[in-house]
């Protein structure tokens, strides 16, 4: 079970591309990689999940933590490219209503 996390700091936002599975084994790596960006003021993070094949509740926990941390620092989080399965996970948990999911990124990606 592997994961690759690619972070690019762009002019207007921080772009993250995740490839692989997000579960109890890979979630700590994801958390360590992304959280430092969320702790800065006014950050906008856009995460591309189009190549995430699986995510369990631990993975979901990382995104909720990230969302809360960004909110506290006046930042924003946007998730893109969610598969139907992932989309369902965010729907059931009510997170789709409070997070910015699968909408178009300004200026295109």
């Amino acid at each position: 079970m592997n994961i690759t996390i690619d972070v690019k700091e762009m002019e207007q936002y921080t772009k993250v591309k995740i490839v692989g599975e997000i579960d109890a084994y890979t979630a700590p790596k994801l958390r360590e990689t992304i959280f430092p960006y969320a702790e800065k003021k006014n950050t906008k993070i856009v995460i591309d999940l189009s190549e995430v094949s699986y995510m369990d509740s631990t993975g979901l926990g990382v995104f909720v933590g990230l969302f809360k941390s960004l909110n506290a620092n006046e930042g924003t989080l946007q998730l893109t490219g969610l598969s139907e399965r992932l989309r369902r996970l965010f729907d059931i948990t009510g997170l789709a209503d409070i997070m910015n999911i699968n909408s178009e990124v300004e200026g295109g990606v």
């Binding site: 109890a24 909720v64 933590g65 809360k68 399965r85 059931i92 009510g94 997170l95 409070i98």
Partner: protein, 336 residues
């Protein structure tokens, strides 16, 4: 010259020097050699082979000079002996930790134990199997004086000991709700406030809370991000999702929960589950909802507990007996 060759040459030098005059210094060098070989993960049998090759190269097959060579071998193997004993002792410590966790798991079972309510109109079954020793799934039944049966099923995000600790907190906040009947949405709203205040910001809880009114045979329910349950209509023989949407517990303290209701007739079945059931993975990927429903349908005519046991057995078999997630399935069947 490769690393192995260097080690080999070094060993031969030590051996040659010791066979000459059996000096203590050669033995000390052997001890240092031992340390190096353990550091570079040279196995005991490799040492024996190094020893043998060195002997052959020194043309020392004659017994009188072979004897001292074993002092060198003994000195070199001493380090391995110590490493082995240390390993043994660490294993003992690991055993102790394991049994402590077992004790904790038993305590968890006792602390969180719940009695399946006994009401005439319902046949209730429940099964909960942890993926590891301690479960992150939780379910609880409450029966009030007016005859309503309430059921809570929750999944703590995260597994093992931290999840178990968190669960005890949930259990006690549920126990300390004021007396009287509570609507499902009220229970979730009050638990949400407790979780939001007390839990680590990356730890979350999903919960489905339902209340079965035994007088008007209506099931009232609310969900905080929990896997939707299923409803089996006895008359049409069809399954439908017990749709309920709501935010996870612990994200936002002002969250309001919607309450849904469902009329239940004789023969109808309510199935509640944790995501260990729907996220069941096999070699070929996830099982589809239809497959899951297929299994449930196969056993739907049985008693509630039997349905739960049989469905668990099927999914356990599908996953080659290796649960990736905690598994909880609760079944309420109206029998009259």
């Amino acid at each position: 010259m490769g690393f192995r060759d260097v080690m080999h040459e070094k060993y031969k030098e030590i051996l040659e020097s010791y066979m000459e005059d059996q000096n203590e210094q050669a033995l000390y060098l052997s001890q240092k050699f031992s340390r190096k070989s353990i550091e570079y993960k040279i196995s005991p049998e490799e040492i024996i082979s190094i020893h043998k090759t060195a002997l052959m190269e020194l043309e020392a097959e004659r017994s009188d000079s072979v004897m001292p060579s074993f002092d060198i071998l003994l000195e070199v193997m001493m380090g391995y002996g110590l490493a082995y004993r240390e390993h043994q002792s660490l294993r003992t410590i690991q055993q102790e930790l394991k049994s402590e966790i077992e004790v904790a798991a038993n305590m968890q079972q006792t602390l969180l134990g719940t009695q399946i309510p006994d009401v005439d109109c319902l046949d209730i079954g429940a099964i909960s199997v942890p993926a590891r020793q301690m479960s992150g799934d939780y379910y609880h039944f409450v029966q009030d004086e007016q005859g309503a049966v309430s059921v809570a099923i929750a999944d703590i995000i995260g597994k093992g000991i931290p999840a178990a600790l968190c669960m005890s907190m949930i259990k006690y906040s549920m126990d300390s709700l004021p007396e009287g009947r509570h609507e499902p949405y009220q229970v979730l709203e009050s638990l949400n406030r407790v979780v939001e205040q007390n839990v680590d910001p990356t730890m979350f809880i999903t919960m489905f809370y339902g209340m079965y009114n035994t007088i008007n045979h209506t099931f009232y329910y609310s969900s905080a991000g929990h896997e939707p349950g299923f409803f089996y209509n006895h008359e049409t023989k069809e399954f439908e999702e017990l749709y309920a949407k709501g935010l996870l517990l612990g994200v936002d303290k002002k969250t309001k929960y919607r309450q849904f209701e469902k009329r239940v007739d004789v023969g109808d079945v309510i199935l509640l589950m944790s995501d260990g059931v729907t996220e069941c993975r096999t070699e070929e990927g996830f099982i589809e909802v239809d497959t899951l429903i297929g299994y449930i349908e196969k056993y739907i005519h049985l008693e509630a507990q039997e349905i739960a046991n049989k469905v668990y057995k099927e999914l356990e078999y599908l996953q080659d007996f290796q649960l990736r997630d905690d598994f909880t399935l609760i079944i309420l069947k109206r029998i009259k």
